[in-house]
Amino acid sequence: MTALTDDTLPVTGRTIRDEMIAFGVMTALLLIVPFTGLYPFFVMQALCFALLACAFNLLIGYGGLLSFGHAMFLGTAGYVTAHALKVWGLTPELGILVGTAAAAGLGIVTGLVAVRRQGIYFAMITLALSQLLFFIYVQTPFTHGEDGIQGVPQGYLFGVFNLAKSTVLYYVIVAGFLLGFLIIFRTINSPFGEVLKSIRENEQRAISLGYKTDQYKLLAYILSGTLAGFAGSLKVFVAQNASLTDVYWTMSGEIVLMTLVGGLGTVFGPVVGAFVIIAMQQYLAGFGQWVTVIQGVIFVVCVLTFRRGVIGEIAHYFRRSL
């Protein structure tokens, strides 16, 4: 079996420096967005999906596990946060906390089932689990079925920041995204991340070296699900609703597509991929179902000719790791 990302470069001081510079550039760009006249709602939405794709990428790019059900974390955290804010009247920080905690719990339960199989089966199992959850959410009353939970109040974060103001909300979302991104960045470069990469490259060898690979994979899955849930909780403040589309399999497919376009197993690829796909959806919104067709075409083209993705190709060209 050929690994998903073929030319892994050794991590050196230069690699870390390159990634730090790229991180600085990304942060600077995000901070100046409100002064550029760019539509902040678009950037906020893209950032939520970027964090989601980064969390997904932690699993596929570094653990070799393709989850086709990551929408379940997005949707679950979204529903719980929206319900907590609207019905229980919790503050935003508590709402995010319970939403993320719900995703973590879901990660533990589904992880214990899914990690029992690898490769192609893992993808089918996660897809089936998310479809199971979709049908549960269709039937449970608190999700309000097809309508979803609408008109979620944004409130005051920590009692100070008025999230109804779009500039304030924008910086809060940027802060949340950067926090999640740094957690992933740290995980990738930790001893834990190194073990994950070794499992991706050759699981048998990792087992023979004494690593309990199932536990590592489970932990990576839970972490990925929790961060995906965090992105889902943040998204509630941007969209002010939580609906069934966020739990449906098409959403899981979009997460995969974003990561694939940006570059599987690259640090910054999922961020770029999320912006590309969200922008495409914005501009092509008038074309109806053709958007689905175009997404399909992108999938096919990426898999056939462009497997490294945007960032992966750039990194490969410059022989750098990004």
Binding site: T2, L66, F68, A128, V297, F299, V300, V303, L304
Partner: protein, 287 residues
């Protein structure tokens, strides 16, 4: 009791489709090492093909039962020759991603032209009406679907497990390089296998057209259930796929009668239970 038997029959019919689709998935996976995400879309194409044959060319149900699987099968073989072929040697997951993209394209195009609502397809005259079996009323078409699917499944099993062609196929699954050394054209065999799997899906589509109407998204949710069926049964054995498919259909039918709220989820719940007890699936080998 009438309602119970009726739900059992619905379960058997769904089971027929699960069996035909999971059988195709297993055959394709064996040869190509690809999980064919486009299987649901190709099933839908089978139904649309029958619909077009009837409404454009005036060709009825019986010829469609043969023509539609061949047409869609050839379409599948073109996909294999032009795209899937290039993925051999790469990670399995790329096959899943590529066929997922193909499913989006096919379903999107059909949705664009036909919306999301269903198109009617009439039951052929010969199979209209029903029989009173004493304990229940059996619509003839429904009984036909179950029996015909079972026959097709068993014929496929016979083809793969008992004929010379099947023996070559199984050998090529184990070790393609060695089989090529014997002078057997393995790439052509791979293409034909994909065509066979796709043809089975299209056949299921034609069979379902009079029952479930013809809709662009008719295969989209079905394929996820079939994935769960495949996880439960494992892809190691042909007969295993057939039996698991029918059995899960029946269980789903029973659930519809005894606890309808869970009828959508029962297959997924069973998948979780099987994974907890026997992770390799009921008939599968560990992978």
């Amino acid at each position: 009791m009438q309602a119970l038997y009726a739900q059992l029959l619905v379960g058997l019919i769904n089971g027929s489709f699960y069996a035909l689709l999971s059988l195709g998935l297993a055959v394709i996976f064996g040869m190509l090492n690809i999980i064919n995400f486009a299987h649901g879309a190709l099933y839908m194409m089978g139904a649309f093909c029958a619909y077009f044959l009837l409404n454009i060319a005036g060709i009825g149900y019986w010829p469609a039962l043969i023509v539609a699987p061949i047409v869609v099968g050839i379409f599948g073989m073109i996909l294999e020759r032009t795209m899937l072929k290039w993925l051999s040697g790469l990670d399995h997951l790329y096959g899943l991603l590529l066929t997922f993209g193909l499913a989006l394209i096919i379903q999107g195009v059909f949705q664009n032209y036909f919306g999301s609502s269903g198109l009617p397809y009439a039951i052929p005259d010969e199979l209209k009406g029903g029989m009173n079996l004493g304990f229940m009323f059996l619509p003839i078409y429904r009984g036909w679907v179950v029996i015909f699917s079972l026959i097709v499944c068993l014929l496929t099993w016979y083809l793969i497990e008992r004929t010379r062609l099947g023996a070559n196929l199984r050998a090529a699954t184990e070790n393609p390089t060695l089989v090529r050394a014997f002078g057997i054209n393995v790439p052509r065999m791979i293409t034909l296998t994909y065509g066979l799997g796709v043809g089975l899906a299209a056949l299921a589509g034609v069979l379902s057209a009079p029952i479930n109407q013809v809709r662009p998204l008719m295969g989209a949710d079905l394929i996820i259930v079939v994935f769960a069926v495949v996880v439960i049964g494992g892809m190691g054995s042909i007969m295993g796929s057939i039996i698991t498919g029918f059995a899960l259909g029946v269980i789903e039918g029973l659930t519809k009668y005894f606890y309808p709220e869970a009828s959508n989820t029962v297959v997924f719940v069973l998948m979780v239970l099987v994974l907890l007890v026997k992770p390799s699936g009921l008939t599968g080998r560990t992978t």
